[in-house]
Symmetry: none
Subunit: 235 residues, 2 copies
DNA sequence: CGGATGTTTCGGCCGGGGCCGAAGCATCCG
DNA sequence: CGGATGCTTCGGCCCCGGCCGAAACATCCG
């Protein structure tokens, strides 16, 4: 009979959704879907570190809660987050969790390549990710406000010159700039649509590419040189 | 050892906070604290429908998770939400829960004042918040685009006449207009820098003020009249 | 000081739910 | 058609954690 024996309470019931997020396996599934990509049940099982059987049960619950949407295709079932509101709520919670120091697993990656540069969701992390952030901040292209980080006037000019069209990014709902705590460096790097755009730009220039089946980002020789030039440290 | 047997993942761990929200008793406690008031352990036990012994354990966990803050006073312990970020995250989740049909039984906060007008982040929420949105939309001052909401030409004129200088808002990175799902009304209200500016303007006119230690926004008599006049419903 | 009130700790009960392997469907492909 | 691959269902194990009452602490008050 639980604690609801008293008269009705009011308001939305957070606990249903909270319970969904409260299981580590389900949280991993949702985090994996934050990339925006549609992933199959099997891929999500692997991401969450559980067997397909267990994942299937979790996916059913998440679907029933309205947090994810299935899309059947052949013998695969692809899942995506159920909408922008879900993604937004997850981001908000992630911000809160990060702020409270609730981070997933502790020890940094042993692989030096992974420490140097890797994909974090869809932006650059690792030494290179922190370097981008430090460079932009040190040159006054980014500024830290009370609530977060934002692009300055000179920063807007820089982005355009670098080849990033800000207009579509700013009309989208996703925040342009967002801080993300780098887990190997334990410092801040840049996320948000600008962070994603920078990584995409580096890949388009063929300065860097993501290795197959890995989060490692590998720089070409030219790419490394260009990167150093375009993201210098102030002073 | 749970499902984290695989190597490191990155990013914040939602599941810790999710687990906190996932218990109905704890969700009730947090919901009660959404009023912004400080409540004692006993009051929270009663609100959540559990014994003081059980509540004590929950409160300790919530405190350890950084979601609530204790304030000892005499033989009472008062608790409040740990900050605006927590309140904001809860509000976001409540909107999502309401949208998904996860209701407890009635809608929104018990406190009628809180339902009428309250602060959501930095803009107006509640009946008054929805009224602002409906009024501007109905009079063609706002328009709904594919991605979100934006100010129309007449809307810009209205804002200026109302005493809001749009120039600094538009040069800032933060979106001018943004929709936000209202937790008590379950409808859209206006967020973004314009939403914040409108609330600030109402306060500057002394039409409304935020009550101490509460999220409630209280209107003066003059203020209520002026509000009705300036935010009429179309037709 | 002693009794009233508020809060926490302790011990023990109990149920929900996460986990897996094996078997059962569904789908694709040669 | 039959074998591979992806996903779900079923059955059973097991542990986490919520719940309470009783008793211990803490604080106020007369």
């Amino acid at each position: 009979m639980g604690p609801q024996h008293r008269t009705m309470k009011e308001g939305p019931d957070i606990s249903r959704i909270g319970a969904m997020l409260g299981d580590p396996a389900r949280a991993n599934i949702l985090t994996a879907l934050m990339s925006g990509k549609a992933l199959t049940a099997g891929e999500l099982a692997y991401e969450a570190g559980i067997t397909p059987a267990t994942a299937s049960g979790h996916l059913r619950k998440l679907e029933e809660s309205g947090l994810i949407l299935p899309r059947k295709q052949g013998r695969h079932r692809y899942f995506t987050l159920a909408g922008d509101e879900v993604a937004h709520a997850l981001e908000t919670l992630m911000g809160l969790a990060a702020e409270r120091g609730h981070l997933r697993s502790r020890i940094g990656p042993r692989d030096p390549d992974l420490r140097a540069a890797r994909v974090c969701y869809d932006h650059m992390a690792g030494t290179a990710g922190v370097r981008i952030f430090d460079s932009l901040l040190g040159r006054g292209l980014l500024e830290l406000g009370g609530t977060g980080v934002s692009l300055t006037g000179p920063g807007r000019a820089w982005a355009t010159a670098f080849g990033i069209d800000l207009a579509p990014l700013e009309s989208a709902r996703r925040p342009l700039c967002r801080t993300c705590l780098d887990w190997s460096e334990r410092r801040t790097h840049l996320a948000g649509s600008l962070g994603a755009a920078i990584l995409a730009n580096l890949q388009a220039r063929r300065w860097a590419q993501r290795l197959q089946n890995s989060r490692v980002i590998s720089f070409s020789d030219d790419g490394r040189a260009g990167f150093e030039t375009h993201f210098p440290l102030a002073n």
